[in-house]
Symmetry: C2
Subunit: 641 residues, 2 copies
């Protein structure tokens, strides 16, 4: 049965409500809900939260009007699934106080009301914390003192100290535990992270990458993501440019996983030994970074599973195993796994085997997995895998590499993925960046889907980067680094690698997926310094550590995008004014939403450009800007009220 009070539409939440919404540890956020009851009584409400195996904390909710209530500044400590309860009760004291004040205000008879107040205070005192009980009982006594005037008696009960003593005190029958749910708490890096993707085989294996950790650290990244490090299949190995014929020295696609040396828990001999890998994991840690591994659930024809577990693959009428294809495209070097074999025992064994891969790499020190094509495996599998892994290891991060339809991407996040790739690479016009930014940071998915913005990946060279100038690369880096709390680039970006495989193909020319590449490190990379500066700005500004708090401002020119980010407490505000045209100077007059910047109308305020150090003094909402892409992609301005 319904309780006396109805609690509806609690946020944050996932659409289905079965899976928890997500926050990061220490992240400040709001919990809000509709709280309704019948009649004219006044309500009070609070949020109660409890970490796994912990004790309850309580957060007072305020009435925002129109029956919406909110608790601000909620923050959760301890990883994992926290219980969340929204509890509401009839505030008998506030209701009595409102009614007696209304009557007294019109000079009506209040003697009976005072008698009611006495009874009420005595009843409430029983349920008050012991330390406050005397204060409430004293007020009841004063209210009950027939020897003094009505006014004196009333004032004794309306005293602020009495109200404070009664704060949160309720009669047990008046309380409705209106909503019981959960929130998942991830570690801070699940929310705020800067990724750098590198193919170790192009760098001389793990040891080679380890030598350049200082260079990567100088660029400010904190997640070092490696494409699959496992043995690459021989059968149907791909040659350069995804050609069907591989030469003797061709390295093949690292996503064609498995060979005589082993499968997903083996290491390609070209890259080094397990000890070399652990050395890289350790070295990364010493340089403020963490290694992320690729989790690509597919097999080369030479993977041990193919012979050991043929029941985990799709078979054709002639007995052969089906290779991956998306007609007319073919991936002859890969067998997809059949995640839903007819026999339930087979399915369970397969899912456990997939999980044991994760367990193995966790044992080697890996806590972040970038998951390849999760949208081609069942949602039910991911829900099961992530839940069971995180039950014991709640710090494990899963990034979903699903470039597919929006509802599928959101559903993957809903069933458990920690972060998600996005459509950012294809969003280039002002209107679509605005629309997408609003959707991701304040739409329904913001409660559970954390976008990770990548200007490029080994699969995608798109938009202004194709044949693009260094200015185009600067532009896209600035957007990705400041629009979202997580971003990443694929090595080569800092060199401005811009040659596509063909005019109508998003792949790179000489794609590193099929051959190794030789590049320089350090100061030779023309964009390395900018990446380092952007990541430093990101670290310095709490405003850039949140998903929420993004505001788009108005302006005239279609090539100029203006947005600000604001920390939860409002103390830190970063305003970005970006020229989306990498080739031409743009001038514009802005239409700033000063309230989002914490600036009073008409006030004069300073903005400091974190890219150049320049200081501008602006007055009012309509400053003039001139953006020369040859100098910088835009302004990253700290607002100083």
């Amino acid at each position: 049965m319904l309780g006396r009070i109805v609690v509806d539409d609690v946020r944050p939440r996932t659409p289905g409500g079965r899976n928890p919404a997500k926050v990061a540890e220490h992240e400040l956020f709001d919990v809000s809900a509709d709280v309704l009851t019948d009649g004219h009584v006044l309500l009070a409400a609070r949020v109660r939260t409890r970490p796994p195996d912990g004790v309850w904390s309580s957060w007072a909710m305020d009435d925002l009007g129109n029956d919406r209530w909110s608790a601000g500044g909620v923050h959760l400590e301890g990883l994992g699934r926290h219980d969340l309860v929204v509890e509401a009760w009839i505030d008998r004291y506030a209701t009595w106080r409102r009614d007696v004040e209304a009557k007294a205000g019109v000079g009506a008879e209040i003697a009976t009301e005072l008698d009611e107040g006495v009874l009420l205070l005595r009843r409430l005192a029983v349920h008050a914390p012991a330390a406050r009980r005397a204060r409430i009982t004293d007020a009841a006594d004063a209210l009950d003192d027939a020897d003094t005037s009505l006014d004196t008696r009333l004032n004794a009960a309306l005293d602020d100290a009495v109200a404070a003593a009664l704060d949160g005190v309720a009669l047990p029958d008046d309380i409705t535990e209106g909503h019981v749910g959960a929130i998942w708490v991830d570690r801070p890096r699940a929310l705020f992270s800067s990724w750098y993707e590198v193919f170790p085989r192009s760098e001389g294996g793990f040891a080679g990458v380890a030598r350049h950790l200082p260079d990567i650290q100088a660029m400010g990244f904190d997640v070092l993501y490696l494409p699959p490090i496992h043995p690459v299949g021989r059968t149907n190995r791909k040659g350069p440019g995804n050609s069907l014929v591989a030469g003797a020295g061709d390295v093949g696609s690292p996503w064609a996983i498995g060979g005589p040396e082993g499968g997903h828990t083996a290491i390609s001999p070209d890259l080094g030994t397990l000890d070399d890998f652990k050395g890289l994991v350790q070295g990364a840690q010493e340089h403020g970074m963490e290694v992320a591994l690729d989790y690509a659930l597919q097999c080369s024809p030479d993977h041990p599973w193919v012979t050991q577990h043929p029941e985990w693959f799709h078979h054709r009428p002639d007995g052969s195993i089906k290779y991956a294809e998306n007609p007319p495209k073919r991936y002859e070097d890969i067998y997809p796994i059949n995640f839903w074999p007819a026999d339930d025992g087979d399915r369970l064994a397969l899912w456990q085997a997939c999980r044991s891969i994760i367990d193995y790499w966790i044992d080697q020190g890996v806590r972040i997995f970038r998951v390849d094509n999760p949208h081609t495996k069942p949602f039910a599998f991911w829900a099961w895998l992530i839940e069971t892994v995180q039950r014991t290891d709640p710090d494990i991060v899963f990034l979903a590499e699903a470039f597919t339809r929006p509802k599928v991407m959101a559903k993957l996040a809903e069933v458990g993925f920690t972060q998600s790739y996005t459509y950012f690479t294809w969003r280039t016009a002002r209107w679509e960046l605005r629309e997408y930014g609003v959707e991701l940071t304040s739409g329904p998915t913001a409660d559970y889907m954390r976008p990770n913005f990548w200007p490029n990946t080994p699969d995608i060279l798109s938009g202004p980067l194709r044949y693009g100038s260094l200015a185009a690369f600067r532009l896209r880096a600035l957007l990705a680094a400041t629009m979202m709390p997580s971003w990443g680039v694929y090595r080569g970006f800092e060199h401005g690698e811009n040659e596509p495989a063909s005019p109508d193909n998003e792949e790179y020319a000489h794609s590193e997926k099929y051959e190794t590449k030789v590049r320089t490190w350090g100061t030779d990379a023309p964009l390395g310094e900018l990446l380092g500066r952007l990541n430093r700005i990101r670290r310095d500004h709490p405003a850039l550590h949140r998903l929420r708090g993004l505001t788009f401002h108005d302006n005239g020119n279609e090539d100029v995008l203006v947005y600000s980010r604001r920390s939860y407490d409002g103390d830190d505000v970063v305003l970005c004014v970006v020229n989306l045209n990498p080739d031409e100077v743009r001038e514009d007059t802005l239409g700033l939403h000063l309230d989002a910047l914490g600036i009073l109308p008409g006030a004069t305020f300073d903005v400091v450009d974190e890219l150049t150090g320049a200081v501008y003094s602006w007055t009012g909402a309509n400053p003039y800007v001139r953006l020369d892409p040859a100098v910088a992609p835009g302004h990253v301005l700290v607002v100083r009220p």
Copy 2:
């Protein structure tokens, strides 16, 4: 565990999902849902519905794009709670067909695909209806015929007759019963109704009202709503104008229910006997009308419950019972009921007693209840009451008279109320009528809340009706009658009664709540003919029988409101062009959305004014209109493509 396929966000639905959405019997509507799975397989989906104790029907769903699916033209027969299931499955045949056609299209090898097709068709044939099995098996045989060409074999399996035989056929393991819910089916009058409110005591009791049934029928109403017909209390009886002192002959407020003659199941002797009442119920039926009773759960101090069940009321410290008040307002002639007494047994007895009132009047032939102030009683009570009443009598209609905050009104509808009063009386400007119209007919509440538009009630004389001309009354009647499928007026409206109690008071002067009124009937009422015409237009046009299907059109003048209504099948379209200014002529050029009218761009079409019979021939989207409030409040145009 999640199934292979995910079904989300099924509409229609209520926000919480516990209570069913509502439709009327025979009403055509859409059922839609998100249907998602992993990978590249093609899906199929259907809605299945089942009436109480009935058999399943099935409605094919179409893919609307972006993973949204919909079944159109769903309609349910039989009142009560229908089960609703959205079921999805992998369409193996369509997937195979798509893949083999893609391969054949690029000249790839397809022999193995044909072999796979043979196996697939033979497996599917097992699960096909018996009558279609041979057709599928024949196709499998042809596909398996190694003596003919690949093309011939393929064409045999791609034949449309084969596709038709396989329509809806699925392997049992491929089916996900993704959503199981319910829809409540009301009788048609729950959706489409025209109410007329009359105080029988002003008309000479039930017999007097019965004499004028032909007059009410002539105005086209089909629900005759009577304020409380029970004995009126003596204690603290209100005098004219809500005064505290009632004279000997004063009748008091009929909402102060109960006297020595009885309570909610008794009849005020002034109005007649139970037989007179039954005569009115019977007479109404003979005139195409139904009597609706007021269900006002409160008691005069003289109500039998006050002495029999003091535990059902709020007591003060001095032992007295608390009268109703909303400080500083007081209702000394009414005791509110305490719906949540401390003792659960008392609560249950009270709720059962409230229900027995409904049962009693159902036995006297009443099937519609207008519920007074439901928002001052617990949601849980209404959920329980309506559910238990409708379990045996699913045709009972409950109209919620809750003029309160929007979420409370929506929640009352969600927990079971059939219809709801609205803010219409206070919505007078173009922008607010548009906004409110859109919200009510296409917002989330449209799935379960049915608005009833009243230009006036005995409590509310507002907006342009205050001191208003007859033109103002015509205007408000036109809006209420055509914007929503349910509307109503309180007697006196047809006479243009326009005098408020005071300039800042929404009540009527000489309010009929506290005294009787003498009015004429029939042709003497200056607006009777218009009301009859409006109700006739409503009856004639299926476009006006739906909640959904309202479109607002563009135009320049702020005083001109343009909207159309369209039947589900699109065959009937009514376009209203209303002058919101009752005093001045308005001219305007419209910006019609021709697609909503079923008119091709640039086409010439006729519109026939149902108020005047005038015919206009228009070409294109921008006709000119001239609206003289002295002649008519606007056009009610039937669109003839």
